[in-house]
Amino acid sequence: MTAVDVTEHESWFHRNQQRIAPWLFLAPGVLFFMVYVIIPVFQSFNLSLYEWDGLGAAEYVGMRNYEDLYWEWVDRDAFYVSLKNNLIWLVMYLLAIPAGLFIALFLNQTVWGIRLYKSLFFFPFVISQVVVGLVFTWFYDPTFGLLNEFLSWFGLGPVNILGDERFVTYGIIFAGLWPQTAYCMILYLTGLNAVDPEQIEAGRLDGAKGGRMLWHIILPQLRPATFIAFVVTIIGALRSFDLISIMTQGGPFGSSRVLAYYMFEVALSEYGFRMGYGAAIAVILFLIMLCFIAYFLWSMYREEKGH
């Protein structure tokens, strides 16, 4: 009797296993991802409507955190400076894409030792941003930095990049561009490897060369690489935190803050544990990111349907 039950049970599972199996395979991953990523996003949305110091009871304040941000009632000159810097980061960081393409074109040769050159050019991407931040802090140092040493050869006075409100954000972005350009370069090198040689020959026969060849024949074939470069650069720009934290801690006078750093400062530093207020900043950053995420997903969706 029991034996029959077992076989029946097995056969039920066996018959339906193609329907059940994907869910069993998905369960652990989806569960983890839900608990640590998806649900926290909604919790942050909810938390942004409260005032909470992280310990005591949370007090519901409705949209007040957002109003505080909009009018800058709590921190003067913090929110809009951060927002403006985020915008500068977004625009400037995109320079990594043409710069990466340029280096890739420069290195796409087959001379002796070129493989090692490619690896060494890529190398900054592998180093942690913390170390990149330290390296560039010393590079900019007004007393002994390499930059000022270099400027002094041309008789230019010492510049304190990280201590000057006008330059500080650009200085940090420049440091960030270093590894990001390396990443874009490797994407383009791979892309260039797969460019169809027949099309290049056809283009040459039609008299296309240099810039025209690049624009009309090469770049269209590099589209997938450009798309990925675009995605990782945008995400990288909006995630900028490590470099700012290491190089300036948002200074001087908060002039190099971005939303990601401002949020951290508000929620988890000596300036007090304003969790709800921090969550409101995070929500705004998330909504900015969401525009790009939606666009990426939409592109992927079209691709999937195109298959």
Partner: protein, 282 residues
Amino acid sequence: MFPKPIEKQPRAVQISYQALLPVALLLWLGPLLAVALFSIKPEADFTNANYWGLPSSFEGAKNYGQVFFNSDMPRYLLNSFLITVPTVIGAVALSCMTGFALGIYKFKSNLWIFFMFVAGNFVPFQILMVPVRDLTLDLGLYNTKTGLVLFHIAFQTGFCTLFMRNFIRALPFELIEAARVEGISEWRIFWYVVLPLMKPAIAALSVLIFTFIWNDYFWAVVLTQGAESQPVTAGITSFNAQFRAAYHLMSAGSIVAALPPVAMFFLMQKHFIAGLTLGAVK
């Protein structure tokens, strides 16, 4: 090949290209070479403002010895390994399964679950920060390596699933159909048919995730505090506070902190680049 191969150019162009390569590389790695130079200089060079001249004596062994035997650096390095390696194993294991499920089976919500992973992978860390920190506190895992590992596994599963699913999609589906005709169970298909074919993807993801997690700074600061659990990225700031203005030691410390992923990259270069550029070519 584009641009035009240099061998087909005039001799002068070839020579100038060969000469330009090392110069360009030197400029590109300049800031890093400066730190490497600092790390072998004696302390006296800094007090005498001999920043850029040759080291007055070679003190590499002494400086690096100091980092390894007279600071918390070995502790931080060990922590980094104990955080990074379990994360790599966990995230790759989970994503082999999710990638298999999303890459092989056709069911209604397939694409939506896939997009959930992709979208989650792109969110700013700050929107997760407070809830994840609370969750970790509630679990009693704040300031432990386990707390950090659990979060990293969960978050990296997003990227890894994207990667694995696309890799599995490109495998020959006939293999799986043939196995099904043979009456082999789904679990065995996963284990004996698909998993062996995923070895290159597993290798590529492992080196990538190793680098990502080793280099993580934000979560290390949010979820850990002291030398007993902090990885080297967070530890380097306390190291620098300990040796304030001792540039020779701070430089040596930075180089040590940066080294493991660099070594990983040079040893596993092929896999690393294959992983990073997946999707860059149609």
